[in-house]
Symmetry: C2
Subunit: 421 residues, 2 copies
Amino acid sequence: MKEIIVQKFGGTSVADIEKIKNVAKAIIREKNFGHDVVVVVSAMGHTTDYLVKMAHEITEKPSSREMDMLLSTGEGVSIALLAMALQAQGCPAVSMNAIQVGIMTEKVHSKARIIDIKTDKIKRHLERGEVVVVAGFQGVTEDLEITTLGRGGSDTSAVALAGALSAKRCDIYTDVEGVYTTDPRIVPNASRLGEISYGEMLELARVGANVLHPRAVETAKQYNVPIRVRSTFKLDNPGTLILGVDNMELHRPVTGVASDLSQLRIVVCDVKDNPGTAAILFNGLAIANISVDMIIQSYARKDLNTNDIAFTIDKSDKEQTLRILEKVKAQLDFSNVHVDDKIAKISIVGAGMIDRPGIAAMMFKTLADLDINIKMISTSEIKISCIVAEDKAKEAVEALHKVFNLDCDEIAEVKGDLPDV
Amino acid sequence: MKEIIVQKFGGTSVADIEKIKNVAKAIIREKNFGHDVVVVVSAMGHTTDYLVKMAHEITEKPSSREMDMLLSTGEGVSIALLAMALQAQGCPAVSMNAIQVGIMTEKVHSKARIIDIKTDKIKRHLERGEVVVVAGFQGVTEDLEITTLGRGGSDTSAVALAGALSAKRCDIYTDVEGVYTTDPRIVPNASRLGEISYGEMLELARVGANVLHPRAVETAKQYNVPIRVRSTFKLDNPGTLILGVDNMELHRPVTGVASDLSQLRIVVCDVKDNPGTAAILFNGLAIANISVDMIIQSYARKDLNTNDIAFTIDKSDKEQTLRILEKVKAQLDFSNVHVDDKIAKISIVGAGMIDRPGIAAMMFKTLADLDINIKMISTSEIKISCIVAEDKAKEAVEALHKVFNLDCDEIAEVKGDLPDV
């Protein structure tokens, strides 16, 4: 049997009939390289928005079951049209929705997780030389209830399918040319990365690089499926390969720099230093489904027996968080709450920074040289994030991008030398 | 268990969000009468046309499998939105597509026939007090291939579902107020029929009364499901009840008059009068899937040993029929072919004409009095059709409508008296 490539095309790539015909060409091109091809597509362009709009004209709170029924029709249209476009170009093809394939999920509407993917029917079609066009974003439960996978759903469908089929690679076609060292809209010198590890990609996705949903990357890591992110509109550009760190050569200590302006910082002052204080606070937020990113608790001031707790949340959770703080005020006995919503989280990410402590120092020195005050710091094995003032974000990213040799005129020559601190 | 009513709403009835909300009201109204309600809907308004248009922008001849995949998404949208509208009005509801219900069909794309409908899931939802909203027009094969039922498909879905569920009645909601004695656009005096038998409805449908597809009527006859045709927009109008003749009181000998301008007549002249001649001709047409309606073979002229064969076909089959005649010319040895495409088929239909021979004579006399020449005649137990010149059609229908007491100012008083010839 031939090696299988899974190709995923997002809504922008199949937004109209001409684009669908072009996507068919990209598929046939891959097939002509000698691969069996399974394609995952999203709904055309703004179809999903349109369906959501109709639902909201009927009711403010449509049931999630019926929303899933409704939204799953979007991919139903794109898979059939793409199969027709392939057939029209002489390539045998067949479209399949989630029920037909058997993309089995848990019974949770609007954000189901995939439990199992049946591959027998797909393989039978591949054996007949057909391209199989599968509806992304949707799944089905054991009792034939239709589910959807939530954000990043089609990427996850594609990667999970690649895993189930033991595919050689999962190619995610999108409207960007790959993964960049930082946002090219902020730093024009940003360069496309040839390779990046799952871990680095995950950290980058979490700090605001919206190329690929973290769920898809985690699924790829789990099945060890290499992902290639590439542009639908520039087929000669090889894009960025995302794969296990064992398969990589780690030339650079830092792979990317990201800034995230979506958070705000809350400081709860003079909290009584009793056991369980933090638990009361963060349990309240967890119950309300509010994600807390960074948390810092200051050393208790022995004389006062209080300390400060600072944490960051998404800006959209501000009002709800303040309400929850009001509720627990009596229990926690804090003095007051500061909200700082003019912050930026600046992160550097790189699998190469493991066991290289100089990297963190280098980051802090770079910011210090620019007179940028660091308000909070958090680190993981392959990421260092600093909270700084929002108006310093661009300057910080540019400086870090330069100091870690990520500017595009330099990246070609970098051979893994650690810059001096 | 409560009695079940199946309601079917066509594309016009669910063409936009406001109309969907109104349909929800009509459903709740029926439920409040104390019935369990199963609803069958078509795709919204022009959705199907739009999907077909996109397919044809991709390829002139899309495969029928992929067309079925594509078109079935149309009902996927309308069922979900209608279920949401019901929920928003406080009525528990659940939408189900053909796969979920188990509307099993033969494996033929674009015109599959229903083999079986599973009712267990629907019944389970009804027991919970939910309205079940089912996608019309679509089916599924044993190996989960999606099929569509072709013309009149949603009507057929509804009637078959009513049969499978032993429903009390199947209500077909449409944009007309019922079945009329003739086309009200031609004869303003046309009156709505309170009742009509399956047989009469079938004959009327075949001669051009487009209220209900013959397939749906045949299915209803088979399961003995009463159908009510009524207007979505005038819920107080009782519409027309279509049911078995045993349940009817036959007041009128003639129930309706119809004219059909879609046919043309072909006369094959001087065919050698040998056994098998007609078989060669009509077998050729059958293989090409051309439906022949009326056939008349003249008496053979003993002196010449030839006769003429005249038949009517749909105008759209003209070119293909002429090509087939050209092919069999040598075998049949005819002299020439006449095509007459300025004809109308005028039919009177009525279960009450059985065993009343005066009806045919009355029809012929009425036409003769108007100097209308009859070119062909065919009869069934409950129908008499005459081919006349196209430009005489309106005059003929009006006269027949009047002579058989169908004008709306008379119909109320008619008590089954046979008019004198």
